[in-house]
C-alpha cells in the first residue's frame, strides 16, 4: 500500500502552453497498491492536467518524440524510462525541444 505520493512537475521549452502556461505543478498522486511508475504518471497527467491537444505531449504509451524527461535532474533513460518507480518528493521535468531557436 503506497501512501499518496507528492511529485513536483515542471514543464519547459513550450510544453507549458499545453498546461495553461503554468510551469510548475505540485501534485499529489492518489494512493494505490503498487508504487507509481512513470507510465502511470503520464496517463494521470493526460487525464488530469492536460488541457488541450494531448497528441502534442503523449504518443501512445510514452511521451512524444522530442520531449525530454528529467527525473531528479537526471536523464530518465538512466533511470529506466517508463519503468522507473516514483518516490515521494521526486522532481519530474518535461522539456520540449521541438520549438527551439
Amino acid at each position: 500500500m503506497a501512501a499518496p505520493t507528492s511529485i513536483n512537475l515542471e514543464f519547459g521549452g513550450g510544453a507549458e502552453l499545453l498546461f495553461d502556461g503554468i510551469k510548475k505543478h505540485h501534485v499529489t498522486l492518489p494512493s494505490q497498491s503498487e508504487p507509481w511508475n512513470v507510465k502511470q504518471l503520464l496517463v494521470w497527467i493526460q487525464q488530469n492536467l492536460l488541457k488541450e491537444r494531448p497528441e502534442l505531449f503523449v504518443q501512445g504509451d510514452s511521451v512524444r518524440p522530442g520531449i525530454l524527461v528529467l527525473i531528479n535532474d537526471a536523464d530518465w533513460e538512466l533511470m529506466g524510462e517508463l519503468k522507473y518507480q516514483l518516490q515521494d518528493q521526486d522532481n519530474v521535468v518535461f522539456i520540449s525541444t521541438l520549438h527551439g531557436g
Binding site: P65, L70, D73, A74, T97, H99, G100, G101
Partner: protein, 529 residues
C-alpha cells in the same frame, strides 16, 4: 505517405554511406528488405530497433564515462553517461573548439548575436558571456552585440503580449551588459534597397593572418573594447499600418511552406541590415545540430539543394561583407535543453508561426516530425545527417569581380537557374509547360530571353512617361520577378496570390535590375567584351 517516408529513409541511409552505428546495421538491412513489404512488416523492424536500443541502454555503466567518479546525470549520444561537471566542461569546450577550429572570427571584431529567445540562441548567448568573463580560460576575443526580432505581428499576438515578452527579454539582455537591439519585424517594410546589393569586398583573410592577428592582440594586451551597454535607441513604436501590411503580406501566401520560407527571408534581411548599419562584420546564428539536420532535408525538398552548403554550413558568406556563423551547429537539441535546465540558462519561449499547427501542414513540419521520430528510434540520425552536411562545399568561388554572378533577390544566393541542355532544371520547365492547359499568351518559359522580351514591351510604354523611381506604381508581375530568383524562391513566389504586398525594397530592386538588364540588352552590340 508512409511509403514516401520509407523511400526517403532508404535514400537517406544510402547517402550516409554506412555511417550508422554498427549496432544498428542489422536493423538497417531489415529496413531495406522491408521496403517492398506492406506496413505491418515495417512495424516488426521497429520492434527490433527498440529492442537493440534497450539492450544498449542496459549495458550503460553506472558511472560517468569521463571521470568515472560521479554518478551520471545526462546520457549523450547512444551510450555515454556524463556527470554534471563533466557535461559542463564538455559543453563549454565544444563551443570554444568550434570557434577556434574555424578561424573566421578575428580578435577585436564586432559580432552580432541573433537571439530569438529560444533555448539554442540563449545558450549561445550564455556561452559567449562565459567566454568573455574575466576568469575564463583563454578569453574570447571579440566584441558582441545582441539583436532580437519581434515577430509577434505574424503569430497574431496582441500588442501587450509582445510588450510583455519584449520587456522580459530586455531585462535579460540588460543583465548581460552588452549592447542590444530589439527590432519589430515591421521594420522590414522600411528597409533600403542597399540590403539586397552586395558590396565589393576585399579578399578573405588567410589562416596565417589569423595567427598573426591573435598574436598581435595578445601582445598589446588589448582588452575587448568597453561598450555602452543598453539599447542605442528606444524600442521603436510599432505602427498599426505596418503591422497590417505585414499581415496582409503573409495572408497573400497560400501555403504554410511558402509562408515559412518568406518569413525566413525577411528575417535574414532584417538581421543583415541591422548588422550592416550598426557596423557588425559577423552575425552569429543559434541553429542547433537538430535544427540544421531538419533544415538540410527540408531544403532539399524545397529545391534549395544548390544552396545547401551555405544554408547549413558553419560560415555563410553570401552577403559579402557580413559573414554569418553557426557556432551551435554541433549541439543536439537534447544537449542544449539539458544544459539550459541544469545550469539555469534563462530563455523566453515565444510561440512561432508553426506552433500548434498539424504535422502535415508544411514541408518543414513534415521533415521535423520525420527527423525527430527517426531520432528517437535511431539516436545517431541527427549526427549522421550533420556529418554528411559537413562535407558539402559551395561550388562557386568567393565573389571577386564587381559585376559577378547574378544573385537571387530574395535569398541573396547565386542563381542556379541556368537551364543548360539536358539539365534537370530544363526538364522541369519543359514538363511544366507541357502540363499546362493550352494558353500560349500567358505561359512562356521563364528564361532570360523570354522575359526580357515581355518586359521590353511592358516597360516600353512607361519608359517614355516616367524617369526612374517607382514607375508603374509598384505593380510587379510574377513573371518579371521570377527571372531574378533562384529555383526555390521561384516556387515560394508561385504560392503567393499577388505580389502587391511585397515590401517596397524588393519591388524597387527588381525593377531596377530589370531596367538594367534591358538596357544592357539594348546596348549589347556596343559593349566591348
Amino acid at each position: 505517405m508512409e511509403l514516401l517516408l520509407n523511400k526517403t529513409r532508404l535514400l537517406f541511409f544510402q547517402l550516409s554511406g554506412g555511417h550508422c552505428d554498427s549496432r544498428q546495421d542489422n536493423t538497417v538491412d531489415a529496413l531495406n528488405k522491408n521496403l517492398r513489404k506492406p506496413q505491418h512488416h515495417f512495424a516488426l523492424a521497429n520492434k527490433e530497433a527498440m529492442r537493440s536500443k534497450h539492450q544498449a541502454a542496459q549495458s550503460i555503466s553506472k558511472l560517468c564515462v569521463k571521470c568515472k567518479v560521479h554518478p551520471p546525470a545526462v546520457l549523450l549520444r547512444v551510450g555515454d553517461p556524463y556527470c554534471r561537471s563533466c557535461f559542463n566542461d564538455y559543453f563549454i569546450h565544444k563551443f570554444r573548439a568550434m570557434l577556434g577550429k574555424n578561424r573566421v572570427i578575428f580578435p577585436g571584431e564586432k559580432v552580432l548575436l541573433a537571439v530569438s529567445g529560444g533555448p539554442s540562441s540563449c545558450s549561445m548567448l550564455h556561452q559567449v558571456q562565459e567566454g568573455l568573463s574575466v576568469n575564463a580560460h583563454k578569453k574570447l576575443r571579440f566584441t558582441p552585440g545582441i539583436v532580437f526580432i519581434d515577430e509577434g505581428a505574424l503569430t497574431g499576438r496582441s500588442l501587450e503580449d509582445r510588450n510583455k515578452t519584449n520587456s522580459e527579454l530586455k531585462a535579460l539582455f540588460e543583465s548581460t551588459g552588452l549592447p542590444f537591439y530589439i527590432i519589430p519585424l515591421e521594420h522590414v517594410l522600411e528597409l533600403p534597397i542597399s540590403v539586397l546589393i552586395q558590396p565589393h569586398v576585399r579578399s578573405t583573410e588567410s589562416a596565417t593572418s589569423y595567427k598573426v592577428a591573435v598574436a598581435e592582440f595578445d601582445q598589446n594586451n588589448q582588452s575587448v573594447a568597453a561598450q555602452l551597454p543598453g539599447q542605442e535607441q528606444d524600442p521603436a513604436a510599432v505602427s498599426e499600418v505596418h503591422t497590417l501590411k505585414l499581415q496582409q503580406l503573409m495572408a497573400s501566401v497560400k501555403t504554410h511552406t511558402a509562408r515559412d520560407e518568406l518569413l525566413c527571408t525577411l528575417r535574414q534581411h532584417l538581421l543583415l541590415h541591422t548588422a550592416r548599419s550598426e557596423g557588425y562584420s559577423k552575425l552569429m546564428l543559434g541553429d542547433s545540430c537538430t535544427r540544421l539536420a531538419m533544415k538540410l532535408l527540408s531544403n532539399i525538398s524545397l529545391g534549395r539543394g544548390a544552396q545547401a552548403a551555405l544554408d547549413t554550413g558553419f560560415s555563410d558568406s553570401r552577403y559579402g561583407d557580413v559573414i554569418a556563423v553557426r557556432p551551435m551547429r554541433d549541439y543536439s537539441a537534447k544537449e542544449i535543453a539539458y544544459y539550459n535546465h541544469l545550469f539555469s540558462v534563462p530563455s523566453v519561449f515565444i510561440p512561432g508561426l508553426d506552433f500548434k499547427t498539424s504535422d502535415k501542414d508544411s514541408i518543414q513540419r513534415l521533415t521535423e516530425g520525420f527527423v525527430i521520430k527517426l531520432q528517437s528510434e535511431f539516436p545517431s540520425t541527427v549526427s549522421t545527417i550533420y556529418r554528411t552536411s559537413e562535407k558539402l562545399q559551395t561550388a562557386c568561388e568567393a565573389p571577386t569581380a564587381l559585376n559577378d554572378s547574378p544573385r537571387c533577390v530574395l535569398c541573396l544566393c547565386a542563381l542556379d537557374t541556368a537551364a543548360e541542355n539536358a539539365s534537370a532544371f530544363q526538364a522541369t520547365m519543359i514538363s511544366e509547360q507541357l502540363s499546362q492547359k493550352k494558353s500560349p499568351q500567358n505561359d512562356c518559359l521563364p528564361t532570360h530571353k523570354g522575359s526580357t522580351d515581355k518586359t521590353q514591351s511592358s516597360s516600353a510604354d512607361c519608359s517614355g512617361l516616367c524617369h526612374g523611381g517607382s514607375c508603374c506604381s509598384n505593380r510587379l508581375e510574377p513573371m518579371e520577378l521570377k527571372t531574378l530568383l533562384c529555383y526555390s524562391c521561384q516556387l515560394t513566389i508561385k504560392d503567393m496570390s499577388s505580389l502587391e504586398h511585397m515590401p517596397n525594397y524588393i519591388i524597387s530592386e527588381t525593377q531596377r535590375r530589370l531596367r538594367r538588364s534591358q538596357m544592357k540588352a539594348e546596348i549589347s552590340n556596343f559593349l566591348l567584351d
